[in-house]
Amino acid sequence: MEKGVIMTGNPDVLRIVKEDILRTIAEKKGKIKINIIKRDVKVYFSFISKAIEYLEKEGFIQSEKGVYELTEKGVRKAKDILRKHFVFENYFKRTRTKKEAHEIAHILEHYVSEEVINNIQKLSTFKGKGNSLAKLKIHKSGLITNIAISDNRLFERMASMGIFPGEEITITNEVPNAVIIKIKNNKFALDKEIAGKVMVLEYEKS
């Protein structure tokens, strides 16, 4: 089956649209008007209104006078979506053509559900790759979007320690030689030199 083509009748479509909406709201700092959703999530409007209806019913979003906002549950879900997105975004960034991007998606299809890949291929609207971790202020959080380290061993070491694109990262302390970061429940001292090569998309911690 050709991936990336949304067909009506596919039970996953609604889910994809729902996730898209959550992501779009998250990108806009958690609050958004319906026409922005319409502009950014490029599917039939009937789909969008249907999806919004479900999202509200399931308690992911709440609305007030046409402004939609993520609930706590919605924030969690949106973070999860963003996280997956970055893992793949990292891949697609390196490959130039659509065809190559498609090839690499082959890797992912083995362990990531189809709808995620569909979702990812549809996403091209994501803006910004973030700032260097060295510029992130203390107590701020963000998602790692990229680790631009040429030393393979160091990269693998970081990956195996759990410092990886897509992870949520918080700076808890700062000393002159390093930043102290928290990923999940683990704390690390990360050299300023390395921190300069870790790209992070900052967001307000909820």
Partner: protein, 627 residues
């Protein structure tokens, strides 16, 4: 009778050693900062006609070629026969534990996955479905708690039943290009290890595995296929991590996250503060030093009296050569036991406490601020710190550093880190006869000399700086048993190697004394003593101190008489103390250097540090004597 060899593998701090403790019930070391187990710990247990050998390995986050400790684990995994690898995973952060699990599964070694910290995870709202995980990976999964021994008997049962043959476990599928590359490379791989695994390691540019290639040229061909992956090694790591995180997500359920009751961020706000952190680190060591000197002194007096009583009870009144030599051997031994032992043990005990609580890793971060100025990685703090106990085990501890260059460099710095014997000498001779200020000037001189030495080396050698990347473990309540066990492990070197050699050093000194060789060196080496501004007889304790450092003080009294303050001016006492304490201190540390780095490097470090030390001390003496 059946024999089983079981390897315990996992990331640092995941509870390998505690599990070994729970399984075997023997004293093994447990620590709370990365890099304690440099060597492999083994423990045996017999269950129903089966000899099980458990092997504890240094913590690894992944199979890669970063440091010597990881190499030790790799060797244990791939170069030796083993039946099962028990991989310990942390339930609170499953996905990164799964990384190394997937790598070991790739190598087709039979794996049993053990989940630790399940209770901690539950408290944090993380619930891991073990059965689901078992189905995904197709390896046995056992939840354990080494403290309550939960799951240990189940684990042993599984180990006993497991088949040696490779299992059909989870297989990561890489993208088509990488898979093609693996297949092509597999045809050119030799050896008994699984070809797919080796091929992957080679594609990840792990040079240790290049030796399995039949034809080196093939690698270039394969790389051509893989042009779509300009960062191939990274892509493989990403896929593996992606898989780990996918599986972790599938088997983990996040319950409603309650606010953690106890957060230790407050402590970190002080210990990892840019100014308070340094102050705290400094203060801690001053306090430790104080305790060490005070308590050490107390224990030393007790020990001294006891050993003196024992020695005198031998009552060797005849002055035959044999009894003289024997006597000096016993004196050497007694000096070692009464002077060095209490200090070393107390110091390692305190260090173990710092480690287990989790503070030490924070200190490493603070120390790295200065260490990086002399081009040393943060980890070098550990051997340098151990040097305050005994130089020989500290030399061995340099193994935790990644490169030979760094190891040799750090070991050479130990020439300026006063060990317990040297501290005792400085406090006992310089402090007693010259006053406490003189004693501290000796410490300061050592520090300055070491700093200049380090800056010099940093300038002339091209050491690649290893950036700081250190996990900071959560603060944990220390267990007395663990700390004692660990201190003992570190003491073992000292007790079994250093102490007997101290007796030998004493005997050697006794022989030289009887034969009358000691006075022979006085004249030829008088240029050294005159450079240092010391009476020529002082060369005897300076030279023979190298055989037995703890006897330096006693020898000084022998050659100068008991009234040292009359024989030496205060400044001379200072110069003597500095000259005796500077440089690689004794024949035992020289031996350890030879063992670690070969005789050429070892002799060079020793000679260079001593010559430099003598020159430096002479210069300082000249500067001081102007005033």
């Amino acid at each position: 009778m059946k024999n089983l060899r079981i390897l315990l593998v996992g990331q640092p701090n995941v509870g390998k050693s505690s599990l070994l403790n729970a399984l075997v019930g023997q004293k093994v070391t447990v620590s709370n900062y990365p890099g304690t187990t440099v060597e492999i710990t083994k423990a045996k247990k017999k269950i129903n006609n089966t000899n099980i050998e458990f092997v504890d390995t240094p913590g690894i986050y992944s199979i890669s070629d970063r440091s010597e400790e990881e190499e030790v684990t790799e060797k244990a995994l791939f170069n030796e026969e083993l039946d099962v690898a028990v991989v310990i995973a942390d339930a609170t952060s499953l996905e990164r534990s799964l990384y190394v699990v997937l790598q070991i599964i790739e190598s087709l070694i039979p794996v049993v996955l053990v989940l630790n910290f399940i209770e901690d995870a539950k408290k944090k709202g993380i619930d891991v479905d073990c059965e689901k995980l078992e189905r995904y990976l197709n390896v046995p999964v056992v939840p354990i708690n080494p403290l309550t021994k939960r799951g240990t008997s189940q684990l042993v049962d599984i180990i006993m039943k497991i088949k040696r043959a490779p299992m059909q476990s989870y297989k990561i599928e890489y993208d088509d290009h990488i898979e093609k590359g693996i297949n092509k490379l597999s045809n050119y791989i030799k050896g008994r290890l699984p070809k797919r695994f080796i091929a992957l390691r080679i594609l990840e540019e792990d040079k240790h595995f290049y030796k399995y290639l039949k034809k080196q040229r093939i690698l270039e061909d394969v790389k051509k296929i893989l042009k779509v992956h300009p960062k191939l090694a990274e892509d493989i790591a990403i896929t593996r991590f992606g898989t780990a995180s996918f599986i972790a997500q599938k088997v983990t359920q996040m319950c409603s996250l309650k606010k953690e009751k106890k957060s230790h961020d407050g402590i970190d706000n002080i210990l990892l503060h840019k100014t308070f952190g340094l102050l705290a680190t400094g203060l801690f060591f001053i306090v430790i030093f104080g305790i060490l000197l005070y308590l050490g002194n107390f224990i030393q007096t007790v020990f001294m009296n006891t050993t003196e009583n024992i020695l005198s009870s031998f009552g060797m009144t005849d002055h035959s050569i044999v009894s003289l030599i024997l006597m000096s051997g016993l004196t050497g031994l007694a000096a070692g036991i009464s002077i060095a032992l209490p200090y070393v043990f107390l110091f390692y005990l305190l260090l173990g406490l710092l480690e287990d609580v989790g503070i030490l890793s924070r200190f490493i971060v603070n120390a790295e601020r200065f260490l990086k100025k002399i081009r040393l990685p943060g980890k070098s703090f550990i051997p340098l710190l151990l040097g305050l106990g005994c130089t020989a085990p500290a030399t061995r501890a340099t193994r935790i550093l990644s490169s030979k260059k760094e190891q040799v460099y750090t070991a050479s710095l130990l020439a300026f880190v006063p060990c317990s014997s040297r501290i005792a000498l400085i406090m006992g001779i310089v402090g007693y006869y010259g006053g406490i200020i003189m004693a501290f000037s000796v410490f300061a001189t050592l520090f300055v000399a070491g700093l200049i030495w380090a800056l010099g080396i940093a300038k002339i050698t091209h050491l690649e700086r290893e950036p700081l990347l250190l996990e900071l473990p959560p603060y944990r309540k220390p267990f007395v048993k663990n700390i004692l066990a660990k201190s003992w492990l570190r003491m073992k070197d000292f007790v079994y190697i250093v102490v007997p050699l101290l007796a030998l050093g004493g005997i050697a000194y006794g022989i030289l004394e009887v034969v009358g060789l000691t006075s022979i060196i006085v004249k030829p080496l008088s240029p050294i003593t005159s450079w240092l501004g010391l009476p020529s007889e002082t060369i005897v304790p300076l030279v023979f101190g190298f055989l037995q450092k703890d006897l330096t003080g006693a020898m000084l009294i022998t050659v100068l008489g008991s009234d040292i303050s009359a024989a030496l001016a205060p400044l001379q006492i200072y110069t003597f103390g500095t000259a005796a304490a500077i440089g690689i201190p004794c024949i035992i540390s020289l031996g350890m250097l030879i063992r670690e780095f070969g005789s050429k490097k070892a002799l060079f470090i020793t000679a260079a540090s001593i010559i430099y030390g003598i020159l430096f001390t002479g210069i300082i003496w000249r500067i001081f004597s102007i005033f």
